[in-house]
Symmetry: D2
Subunit: 139 residues, 4 copies
C-alpha cells in the first residue's frame, strides 16, 4: 500500500457506516476513488432495490476520499453539499461508486461521482453526483 492508499484506507475503515452497509474500498488513485457495494436486502427500499440513501452514502464517501487525495498534507475533508440524480432503479448484484475530483482549490474541491450497477456482464449507471468538499486544516 502506498501512502495515499494508506491515508484513505485508514479513514475508510474508521467509518462505521461503510462497515454497516458492507462497502469495500476498491481503488485509490490521485484524484479518484472507487468503493464497491455488494447487493444485500439490508440496503433495500420498499421494492427490494437498493435505497437511494445507500447509493448516496457510498458515492459520497468516494467523492470525499477523492478530494482527500488532493488536499494539503495534514488536512481533512468534509462534505459541504452534494446533489444526486437517480437515473434508474438501483437493481444489481453489485455496485461500484466512482468519485473524481474535477477541480481542487485551496479550500473547496468540486467532485463528480457515479454509481454503476452490475448484473452478470451488464453495467448501468444508476446515479450521478456533483459535490462540494471542504478542506479543513489541522487544529
Amino acid at each position: 500500500m502506498n501512502e495515499l492508499e494508506k491515508l484513505v484506507s485508514d479513514s475508510f475503515h474508521a467509518q462505521g457506516l461503510m462497515r454497516t452497509l458492507g462497502a469495500e474500498l476498491a481503488l485509490v488513485a490521485d484524484g479518484e476513488v472507487h468503493i464497491a457495494l455488494p447487493f444485500s436486502p439490508t440496503l433495500s427500499q420498499q421494492h427490494g432495490y437498493v435505497h437511494a440513501g445507500a447509493v448516496t452514502s457510498v458515492v459520497d464517501s468516494a467523492c470525499g476520499y477523492a478530494a482527500l487525495t488532493k488536499a494539503p498534507a495534514g488536512f481533512e475533508v468534509v462534505t459541504a453539499e452534494f446533489k444526486v440524480n437517480f437515473l434508474r432503479p438501483a437493481i444489481g448484484e453489485r455496485f461500484l461508486a466512482i468519485g473524481k475530483v474535477v477541480n481542487a482549490g485551496k479550500l473547496l474541491a468540486v467532485c463528480t461521482g457515479e454509481v454503476r450497477a452490475f448484473t452478470g456482464a451488464s453495467a448501468k449507471v444508476v446515479a450521478l453526483m456533483q459535490a462540494t468538499i471542504v478542506s479543513v486544516g489541522p487544529r
Copy 2:
C-alpha cells in the same frame, strides 16, 4: 392508524435500509413526514459523527413519504434527485428528519427536508434537503 399512516407505515417497514440504520417512523401528516434516528456508532463517519449518507437516507425517506401522502391513489413515488447541504457535523444523541411537500404537481413533487440533532435540551439543524420526487402510476 388512519389510512395515510397505514400507507406510509407499510412501505416504511418494507425498507430494509431503515431497519439497518435503526430509523423509526415518527409522524405522518398530509404533506409532512418525520423519521427519527437514534445515534449509533454503526452510522459513523471517521470521526464518530453520523455519516452524511445516513443523514441523507432518513431525510430522503421523509421527503419521499411526504410526497406519497400527496400522490394520487394507487401511485407510488420515486426520488428523481435531491441536493443536501450539511450545515455542521451531525453530532447528537438522536436525530429527526422532517420532509415537507412544497409543491405537488401531477407528476413531480418538490419537497424540502431538514435533519435536526438533539443533545439533551439542545436542537440544531444539521442538514437541509431540496428534492424532486416523481409519481409513478399503477401498472
Copy 3:
C-alpha cells in the same frame, strides 16, 4: 440608507447584469435581501414566459447579498454553487426574489431563496433555491 443598505446597494448597482435585466433592489435586512424584477419580453424563453436563467440570476443575487449582510466586515462573497427547482412557468407582471441566510459559518453561508410571481392580486412561488456562498477575505 443605513450602512448595511449602502454596502449592498453599492455592489448591486455595480452589477451590469442586474441593470440589463431591469432588476431593482427592494429590501436589505440582516440576513435577508429582496430583488424585484418587472416582466419584460427581453427576459423570455421560447413561450414568452420569463427564462429560468433570469429567474435564477435575481435569486442568486438575492442570496449572495443576504450572505454579504452576515459576512465579516471587509469580506466579499462569491457563489460556490446553487440548486434551483422551477415549480411552475414564470408567468407574471412582476417578480420578487427573496434570499435568506439559513446558516452562516466562518467561511460558508447556506442560503435559501424563492421567486414569487405577481399578477394582479395573485402571488405564486415559481422557483426555490438552495445555495452555498463563500466569504472571501480582504486581500
Copy 4:
C-alpha cells in the same frame, strides 16, 4: 440546416433572454448543444466578471436543447431543476456552454453541462451543471 438544427434554432431564436445576453447557437447534435457567449460588461457582476446568472442562463439553454434533441416528436422540454458549481471567476473574452444528455427516459432527461471561458489560447472550465429536464407532450 437539418431538421434537428431547425427545431432547436427556431426555439432558440424565440428566447428573448438569449438575444438580450448576446448568446448565439453554436452547435446542435443528437444529445449535445453548444451556445456561445461573447463577453460584455452588460453581463457583469460587481467585479466586472460575468455574473453567475448569465453563465447559468446559457448552460441551462444548452442542456434544455440537448434534451429537446432526444424528446419524442412534437414534445417540448421544460427545466425541472438544475444545480451549478462555479469553479472559478467567469473571466474571459468569450464563453462556450456545452449541454449533453446523460440519460433520456420517457419523461425525464438528466443532462450535464459545463461553461468554458476562453482568453487568447487559454480555455478553462468555469461552471459545471447537472440538470433534470421534463418532456411535455403536445396538448
